[in-house]
């Protein structure tokens, strides 16, 4: 049963970050929505209102600080007209989706053209499970100024941080393998109308600890701790950490090719467990193009995209124009790329490497160009 919690008023601490483009009114504003208390055994935040001005393009709202051992997600989303557009009780993810995430649960609007941005007060209600520490810190980032006049092109700043791999901020620009990875990444993102502006930064933290990021099925704290160091010089950037590898010690140390915070990530918000993407660089010297593909795929998750089809076909993304694969030809319960030719294997967000030169769909491009980090 939900405990009634009064709606919070938006409180102070507005931080405006203007876009670098001359003449562009496209701005990002971070709001502190305050702290709410809830039962440590699990409970709801209560309605958290985020007021969207009439020229809002997109927003990411979150409640977080509940720790790496607890999971939370948006349970109810109500639009400015009072309609419940997402209800976790009925499981309809055709227009909006919020998966359970540890420590912090960002929610992106819009995440589908079927639920476009509208001005007025949107109301989010998070559910957070046991072990949450009894309180949530909530906030939002709003991109406004140009409304839905986003167009077919956008730029995204990417800050690349090398951790324990044989690249530095000084050597990356002249490294042929790295440039090959970057070419693949930029080409794939280009199919969504995205231009990438890349800068490099050397890692100032504990390199020995994060060269191999160790996780288990139940403990992503080391992954989260690396993301908590993300502090790009331009906050309107995505931080990509390139490490030696991510290893899952619940699976005998098997390598994870890449992982994003979220989806979605905490766009434009530094130093949180959802502030970037981590990519395994172990293929850099023998398959650099694959590193680029991993960056494109994981970056897509950060920007709010989901797998078009999951490995077992159990879920699809909330977009109408991304192909859905349902043909398990050999009946083994796994939807391989070879079985999904023409129905997703050519999409960047398929669950595994599919066709060469994958691309984004029109709706995927629509979503990512609207993300607060884009301009």
């Amino acid at each position: 049963m939900r405990a009634p919690v009064a709606a919070l008023a938006v409180s102070a601490a507005l931080i405006a970050i203007a876009a670098a483009c001359e003449g562009a009114p496209d701005e990002v504003e971070v709001l502190d929505l305050g702290t709410v208390t809830l039962s440590d055994t699990g409970g709801y935040s209560g309605p958290i209102e985020v007021a969207m001005p009439s020229d809002t393009t997109s927003a990411v709202a979150w409640c977080g600080g509940y720790g790496d051992a607890a999971l939370g997600a948006v349970w109810t989303l109500t639009d400015p007209g009072g309609a419940v557009v997402y209800d976790g009780d009925d499981g309809d993810t055709s227009r909006f989706r919020s998966d359970f995430l540890d420590d912090m649960a960002p929610a992106l609007l819009p995440v589908s053209p079927k639920l476009p941005m509208a001005d007025g007060a949107w109301s989010f209600d998070w559910f957070v499970g046991a072990g949450n520490g009894g309180s949530l810190d909530c906030g939002a980032v709003i991109r406004s100024g140009i409304g839905d006049d986003v167009g077919s092109d956008a730029t995204i700043n990417v800050e690349v941080v090398f951790v324990g791999v044989d690249l530095t901020a000084a050597t990356a620009a002249d490294d042929a393998d790295w440039q090959s990875a970057l070419d693949t990444f930029e080409t794939e993102w280009g199919t969504a109308g995205l231009t990438v502006n890349v800068v490099y930064k050397d890692f100032g933290g504990n390199v020995d600890r994060f060269t191999v990021v160790d996780v288990t099925d139940d403990d992503y704290s080391e992954f989260n701790d690396l993301l908590r160091t993300a502090d790009p010089d331009d906050p309107r950037s995505i931080t990509f950490f390139v490490v030696e590898e991510i290893a899952n010690n619940s699976d005998g140390g098997a390598t994870i090719l890449g992982l994003s915070a979220g989806p979605p990530g905490a766009a434009t918000v530094p130093r949180t467990s959802k502030s970037g993407v981590i990519v395994s660089g172990v293929d850099l010297r023998d398959a650099p193009g694959d590193v680029g593909r991993i960056m494109a795929h994981e970056g897509g998750h950060f920007l709010g995209l989901y797998h078009t089809t999951e490995k077992d076909g159990s879920n699809h993304d909330p977009l109408d124009d991304t192909p859905r694969c349902t043909s398990d030809g050999d009946g083994d319960g796994i939807l391989l790329a070879s079985e999904c030719a023409g129905s997703g294997s050519g999409n960047v967000m398929f669950w595994t490497f599919g066709d060469d030169n994958p691309s984004f769909s029109g709706d995927q491009g629509w979503v990512v160009r609207r993300n607060p980090v884009a301009y």
């Binding site: 191999v212 010690n249 005998g252 098997a254 994870i256 172990v282 293929d283 490995k311 391989l336 595994t352």
Partner: protein, 170 residues
Amino acid sequence: MIATFMLILAGPASAGELREPLMELLNAYEHGASAEDLTRLGDGVVAELLEIAADSGVPHSRRGRAVSALGHYPEPRVRSFLDAQLTGSDAFLQRKATGALAKAFRDDALPSLAPALEAEDAQLRLATVHAVGQLDSKAARDLLQARVRREKDDNVKSVLKSTLASMEAK
């Protein structure tokens, strides 16, 4: 009887009929191949995983995933292969071999893993600590306890201590 399995690393190996579906599983962005996934592919998986792991034409991460996937198969030919990787020259595959050995052979893998705890490579020692830490036995705890007294690297020592604490809490 000691089973032996020899691989000649002469370059890209020829692929069997399971190569394509196995590579698709190993190519997943965020997950390795589960035991259930591998079982669904039918017979011949182990032989193909051994080929993939040894194939210099396969991207390094996928070779590593094949090594890790071998951890689902506690067979003599797998043991020989993993022991060879652990004492080989590829640091990344050495790390993957530690986890696969522990997963497949449990405490029987400790004689192979113990020398890796003494390796010069701190990342290999770390991987071995994580691998041994997945074993719930006195022998595994004793091995890590013996190492923690001698470990000089702060990161490895920290992981040793936290791993031992987790093992004792079980």
